[in-house]
Each structure stands twice: as C-alpha cells, then as structure tokens.
C-alpha cells in the first residue's frame, strides 16, 4: 500500500464521520412534537426534560392543550388517584406540566425557567415550596449539578445583566455550586464581578447553543419514561364522573385509611415497609436538630421571584405540610417549622406575592399526607380544588415589588421572630 493510501485509510473514515456529524447538527431539523410526546414529557419528571428546552417550550406553546407549569419537587412524584395530573385530566381543561423531583429547589428551577421566558410571560403558574429545602447549606452541589446543564446555563448567561444584583447573585451561586473550571464558570465569574460578556463570549455561546438546541430537538424525545401511560392515564376513569369536592374528600380519606393500615403514622403501607420499618428505632428523635430558619435558600428563592416579576407570571404558591404524627415521633420542632413558614410568607407577601396556599398546619388532618413529608390523597384533593380555582378564574394582574434586601446574607440568616421581622421591614423595606 502506498503511503497516501495508508493515510487515507487512517483519516478518511474520520473526515467522513466529522462531516456527517456537522451535517446532522447544523441542518435545521425540525421535528414537530406530537401531543402524545408532550403529554409524556409533562408527567415524566425527568432530568432530561428539566435540563433541555424543546419539549417544554413546545408543550407550553401548545394553545390547544393548555399546559400550566407546576414547579415543585419530590411531592410531584406521588402519583396517586388525586394527583393534580389525574384530577386535571378528569375535571379541568388545563394540563399540569410538572417540573421537578427530589432536589429541584429554587435555583435549579430558576435555570429551568430561564429557558422558557416567552412561555411564562403573562401566564399563570404554580410553585410548590417545601420548607425542607431551607437547610443550612441550601441546595447541595450534587443535586444542583444533577438538574443543571450547559443548555440552561448558556441561555441564562445570554440574558444575564451584570448590573443587576439578582443576576450577580445567581452567577456567584452558579460558580460556587459548579465548582469547576468550565466555560460556564468563567463567564458566570464575569457576571458576578459585574463585567459585561464580550462579543466573542456571546458568539461562543451562540454557536454552542445552536449545537445544543439541535441535539435537544433530535434526542430529547427518546428515552422519555411513560409515567403518563403507566400511572396517570389508568387512574383517570377511576375518579367519579362528576366533580364533587366533599365527596372526593371523603373518598380520599377512606382510601387513605385503607392504604395506610400497617403503621401508626398514616404513612402509605409500601412506603412504610420499604423506607421506615427497618430503621424505626433509630429514627425516633432523629430530627430533633433539624433547622430551616437560616439558609441561602431564602436568597435563592428571591431570584426565582425576580424571574416571575420579569415575566409578569401570575403565580400561586403552596407551602407544604409535614406529617404531624411522624414529626412528633422524630422530634422535629413544629415551632421551628411554623417560623420557617412565617419567614417564607413574609418574603412573599412583602413583595406582592399574595396567592399563597399555606398547608403547613394541615399535617395532622386525616388523609392529608401520603408519607412523612409528602402530600397525598386528601391533601391533593384540596390542592387541586384551590389551584384549579386560581387557574380557571380570571385573576387581577400581579403587582410585584421586589426588594434586593432579600438577597442579603442578613436576610438568609435572620431568625424570624416577630421583632426581627418588623425590624427588617423597618430597616430595608420602608423607603
């Protein structure tokens, strides 16, 4: 073989392969997502959907299907008969698009939202806040990275304003949580330092986004789990045809009694057997030291609120309860829990976020909780009842007044006694 032939046999396949890849990624493919794919994505709770863009944008732009974004975390995975997706399919003419699973706290949600500003503009949304997010360290780096991807980061960097204290705050959190040396970190560093991204940076982001968006369009539709087909759809017809709130509540309570029979806490039997039973002794008193009063999560929540303001999204919040019997057993301080909720509500209400469903005191109600900290049965029925009322009826336009005092460590670490809150109000909020 001549040398030229040898070289061709080495590099020829390589050159052809590179050309093929470039063609595949740069041609403007456009696959229309079918309604079925959108539906699967809406209930998949998958990190892929969360980190990418194509499916959620397609679904939320779909006027006919009328998807409403539900931002939350692990409670969304409790897909029992009264889960909002089942209820909506039976009784309402909107469909929840579920964003979140374990670990999707405010900051991951912010990056999720930054990919679909257009779709959130002047729309309604639901945002479920768990006081369990507000631990001392805030969102863990591991969880953050699991739900964060370059696609969202690049899009956020494109819209970040180095003059805005909110964006500078987000940028510094991003650098801290990623803790690496990549492009995202170095650009976020610039934003955090108040520097504008250069034209070269922007061009770089644009090229990368082109690739990522094509990759997204090509592949995100694959490998979607079928929560909708397996868990949601089969339950729809099990609900009574006619919507009747008191009847549904009774039904939920009855089901709860039947399905949580093997333990004293009112926890779903299978959950109890799998996760609690074995360690029941060591769990007693195990939560005595839990404390949600001081956390960077309060600051993280603030940037999410800012995003809602930017998009003029009319949002209803729900604050989750905990299983009262369980917390008594594990020794968590309910006083601390109430104070946490008070602090969260203070932050929301003093900035004009007034649609709040506070369920934090409902943890002892019959059938309200599915397990230790997650809503189920009657809890979902009530949630669906109030949320659908918000979505189905015309609401006054929101009037949010954001205050960057809530980005401060002072706020993050403030112990929310009434005096302290009043003092904070006086010092920062009345101008």
């Amino acid at each position: 073989m001549s040398n030229r032939k040898k070289l061709w046999s080495i590099f020829g396949p390589l050159i052809v392969a590179v050309l093929m890849v470039v063609v595949v990624f740069l041609l403007p493919w456009k696959f229309n997502n079918t309604p079925a794919t959108e539906q699967r994505a809406a209930d998949s709770l998958s990190a892929t959907v969360f980190k990418n863009r194509d499916l959620k944008v397609a679904a939320l732009s779909d006027k006919k299907a009328n998807y409403v974004p539900f931002f939350g975390s692990s409670e969304l995975a409790r897909m029992d008969l009264f889960h909002p997706s089942v209820m909506a399919a039976r009784y309402h003419d909107y469909k929840p698009f579920l964003f979140g699973s374990r670990g999707t706290q405010s900051l991951p949600q912010l990056f999720n939202m930054a990919m679909m500003n257009q779709q959130l503009k002047n729309r309604k949304a639901v945002y479920i806040i768990s006081p369990q997010w507000f631990v001392k360290e805030g969102v863990s780096s591991q969880a953050f990275k699991y739900y964060n991807g370059n696609y969202a980061d690049y899009m956020w960097l494109q819209q970040a304003n180095p003059k805005s204290p909110y964006d500078r705050y987000t940028a510094s959190r991003l650098v801290f949580l990623l803790n690496d040396q990549g492009l995202v970190s170095s650009l976020a560093n610039k934003i955090a330092n108040g520097e504008t991204l250069s034209a070269a940076d922007r061009a770089n982001l644009k090229v990368r986004l082109t690739f990522l968006s094509h990759e997204d369009q090509l592949f995100s539709g694959f490998f979607l789990n079928n929560n909708y087909g397996n868990k949601i759809a089969p339950q729809i017809t099990q609900l009574p045809r006619q919507y009747n709130y008191p009847k549904l509540l009774t039904m939920a309570k009855e089901m709860h009694a039947a399905e949580s029979s093997n333990n004293q806490f009112g926890i779903l039997n299978s959950f109890y057997d799998k996760r609690v039973k074995k360690n029941i002794k060591s769990l007693k008193g195990s939560q005595r030291k839990f404390n949600y009063l001081q956390s960077p999560e309060y600051n993280d929540l603030e940037v999410v609120l800012k995003q809602f303001q930017k998009n003029n999204t009319n949002v209803i919040f729900m604050i989750t309860p905990v299983n009262a019997k369980w917390e008594k057993y594990t020794g968590m301080s309910m006083e601390m829990y109430d104070q946490t909720v008070q602090k969260i509500k203070f932050q929301l209400q003093s900035q004009g976020f007034n649609n709040i469903l506070d369920y934090s005191k409902d943890g002892a109600k019959k059938g309200f909780m599915q397990d230790t900290i997650h809503l189920g049965w009657a809890g979902w029925v009530k949630f669906d009842h109030q949320v659908s009322a918000f979505i189905d009826n015309k609401q006054p336009a929101p009037n949010y007044k954001l205050n960057d005092a809530f980005l401060s460590t002072k706020w993050a670490n403030l112990k929310p006694s009434t005096t302290n809150l009043n003092q904070f109000k006086q010092d920062y909020l009345t101008r």
């Binding site: 040398n3 040898k6 070289l7 046999s9 080495i10 590099f11 390589l14 374990r102 360290e137 863990s140 591991q142 699991y146 040396q181 990549g182 492009l183 970190s185 170095s186 560093n189 610039k190 330092n193 520097e195 996760r275 360690n279």
Partner: protein, 408 residues
C-alpha cells in the same frame, strides 16, 4: 492583581470534545513535520506552553504558580544531583536528594489530614511529576542516566499530553524517543494507532463513562444515602458503578494521553491492559494503572528486595516477599492521600498479594489441578469482585455514608 488571568477561559486536559479540536489543530504542523522527518522543537514548546497555560489559568492560576515553583525546585535538584553523581556516589547524599524530591508531595498529601484544607503547594498533576523526578534521580544514582540537560529534563517533566494524570514515563525512554524522529513508515503506523486510541478513548470517556459517572453512580449513591449510616444493597451497586466509572474515565484519559503522544512522535507507554480479565491480584497489577504499578515495582519493591537480600535482613524469602508487598502497597495507599480509606485500600491490596503468593505456592505443592476454563472463570470472578470491594473503600463513599451522612 492577576484578575485578568482569572477571567481567561480554562481548559482541563481532554475535558470536552471541543478541546480535542483545538489541540489537534495545534498539533497538525508538528505532525506534518514529523511525517517529513523533522521535529519542530520550538513549535512544540510553544503549543505545550499554550495548552499548559490553559490548564492553569482562570481561577486555577494559583496552581499554575505552584507548578512553576515546583518545576524550578525539582530541576535544580535533579540537575545538581546529576552533576554531583558524575564525580562522587555517596549513599547519604542520594537519600537526602531523594527525600528532598519527595518532600513537596509529602507536604501536599499530609496537609489536609493535619490542617484540614488543601496545601497551597499543590497543583493538578503533582504526584505524576514527582514520580518522574524521583525516578530520574534513582536512575542517576544507578549510573544509567548518562547524560542529562536541564531543558531536556524540563521537557520530559512538562510533556503536555501526560502532564496532569500520566501515564508515567521514564526519563531514559522518553529522551531516547525524543532525540530521534520516527521513520515515515513507523510514523504512519503511529498515526493509525493514535486515531484508534483517541476514538476508543472517546467511547470510554464520553460515551460509556457518561452513564457510569452521570447516571448510574449518582443514582446508586442517592439510594444508598437514604439508608445512611447503614449499609444496603445499594451500596454494593455503588461499588460496581464506581469501578466502571473509574476504569472508563481513567482508561479513556490514558488513551487520550497515549494517542496524543503518538501524534507528537513519542511512544508513551500504555496504562491499562484489560485489567478485569486478571485471574489473580498479581496479574491485576500488571494490567491496571500499569505505569504506576511498574514504577512501584521497579523503584520500591525490587529495590527493597534487592537491598534486603544483600544485607540478609530476612532468612525466609517468603517473609521477605510478604513484607515487600505490604510496604509497596502501603506506600501506594499513602501516596493517594492520607485518609483512612486510601490507607486501608493499600493495606488490603498488600494483604491480597501476600495471600495470593501463598496460595500459588500452596497450590503448586499440594494440588495437581490443571487450569481449565472453569477454574480460570472462578479465579477471574474472585479477583474482579475483590477489586470492586477495595475500590468501594478507595472511593471514599463509605466515609461519607458512615461519618458524614448529611454532607458535613
């Protein structure tokens, strides 16, 4: 001060596919030169400098400063010792020189255990550079390094493809490659291998390891942590996923380093050779992270045995070999870092080598079983699972599970 450096983009070696595009474009002129029988030393120095700079700029600029300081220190030490050795050959001087050469890494490895944070002297790749420097000093002592120029030594230390994570080359072998240009036939053959290695590396690191590192291992870890501080079957899963992750990550990385070296006309030695088909633990160490284990074999194990035999420290050679194995693996454990899990890992591997040796002797004496496919299968199974078990210790997950379950 130095803020401009901090804002520059930083590229860890072989971190992303796009890195390869930049690197290979930069190497093309060099390759064309080699193809036509020329080595453009100055151009190579330039691209090495640029890519090393990209590894240590941005927010890691402090590491870059440490690297420069470290390199000056080692070069002075090695060159001084080389000149000294041409005139005299005193044992104590050799030991002091070797100790001084190891000193920085000892400080770096012990600092976290005693002070609680990482040493400022450290930088990515310090262990690998230490191996190269110490190896050169030892071979100088033996009188087999017959010429050494400071810039050749620096080039050896800073050889870009292998800078941060090996494979660990030897000065004499590297210098031999470097002084000559491969023949055209030879270089074409190297190009072919290079492309093959790089693509195998892509498959390992960017495809297979994605699943182990980003999907499966985190999943099993999360599930296992729900049972913290108790063990569960999920923890067993973590062990297998970590093993897969470590192998495909590291073997992929090593393939990149070797592939890029070949493009630059240097035959950097291979680091992995199908380690999981080893029928015993001794064989495993001949196939896993080979340049490291061969370094330990040649510079620690063999030398210790040599010295002990010469001085007749031990009467029984089985005792001697057991002690040598333990010493060898314990040092390897400490080299990884001063934490209970690295040290236990070294200890277990030392013990396994001792037992393995004993078993081979015992088997030879008492059984006359012929090896067949079945016995070999059993042997491979046992070896693999032992390795997985020790890697679970090595990865530090148990430390988190037992002692820091809430991330503190």
């Amino acid at each position: 001060m130095l803020t401009w450096i901090q804002t520059l983009p930083n590229y860890t070696a072989y971190g992303t596919p796009i890195y390869f595009l930049y690197l290979i474009l930069a190497i093309v002129p060099l390759s064309i030169g080699l193809y036509f029988g020329k080595r453009f030393a100055w151009y190579e120095a330039l691209i090495s400098f640029v890519f090393i700079f990209l590894m240590f700029d941005g927010t890691s600029y402090k590491q870059g400063a440490s690297l420069i300081g470290y390199l000056i220190y080692q070069t002075i030490l090695v060159v001084w010792y080389f000149h000294y050795r041409q005139r005299k050959n005193s044992g104590p001087v050799f030991y002091v020189t070797a100790a001084l050469s190891i000193l920085p890494i000892v400080i770096v490895k012990f600092t976290p255990a005693f002070v609680g944070h990482n040493s400022l002297l450290g930088f990515l790749g310090i262990s690998y550079l230490t191996f190269r420097a110490v190896g050169t000093i030892i071979e100088t002592r033996d009188g087999v390094v017959k010429e050494l120029k400071w810039w050749e030594f620096v080039r050896f230390m800073l050889f870009m493809p292998t800078l941060t994570s090996g494979p660990i080359d030897r000065y004499r072998r590297f210098a031999k490659d470097y002084k000559k240009v491969p023949s055209r036939d030879k270089y074409i053959e190297m190009l072919g291998k290079s492309v093959k290695y790089l693509f195998l590396g892509f498959l390992y690191k960017f495809v297979i390891d994605y699943f182990f590192a980003e999907q499966w291992q985190p999943f099993f870890e999360r599930m296992a942590m729900q049972h913290a501080p108790h063990l569960s079957w999920w923890t067993v899963g973590v062990a297998y996923m970590y093993t897969g992750n470590l192998f495909f990550d590291f073997a992929g990385y090593s393939l990149f380093a070797v592939g890029i070296s070949y493009l630059m006309g240097v035959e950097t030695p291979m680091n992995f050779n199908k380690p999981f088909k080893s029928p015993n633990i001794k064989e495993f160490w001949n196939r896993w992270h080979m340049t490291l284990s061969f370094w330990f074999r040649d510079y620690i194990f063999m030398r210790f045995v040599f010295l002990a035999t010469k001085k007749r420290w031990f009467k029984n050679r089985n005792v001697l070999s057991s002690i040598a194995y333990m010493l060898n693996m314990m040092i390897m454990g400490f080299w990884h870092g001063v934490t209970w899990y690295y040290i236990l890992y070294g200890f277990l591997h030392g013990l396994a080598l001792v037992i393995n040796d004993w078993w081979l002797r015992y088997k030879r004496k008492h059984f006359k079983i012929k090896t067949n496919a079945f016995t070999k299968g059993v042997a491979i199974f046992i070896t693999f699972n032992f390795v997985v078990f020790t890697l679970l210790i090595f990865c530090g997950f148990l430390d988190k599970l037992w002692f820091h379950p809430f991330g503190m």
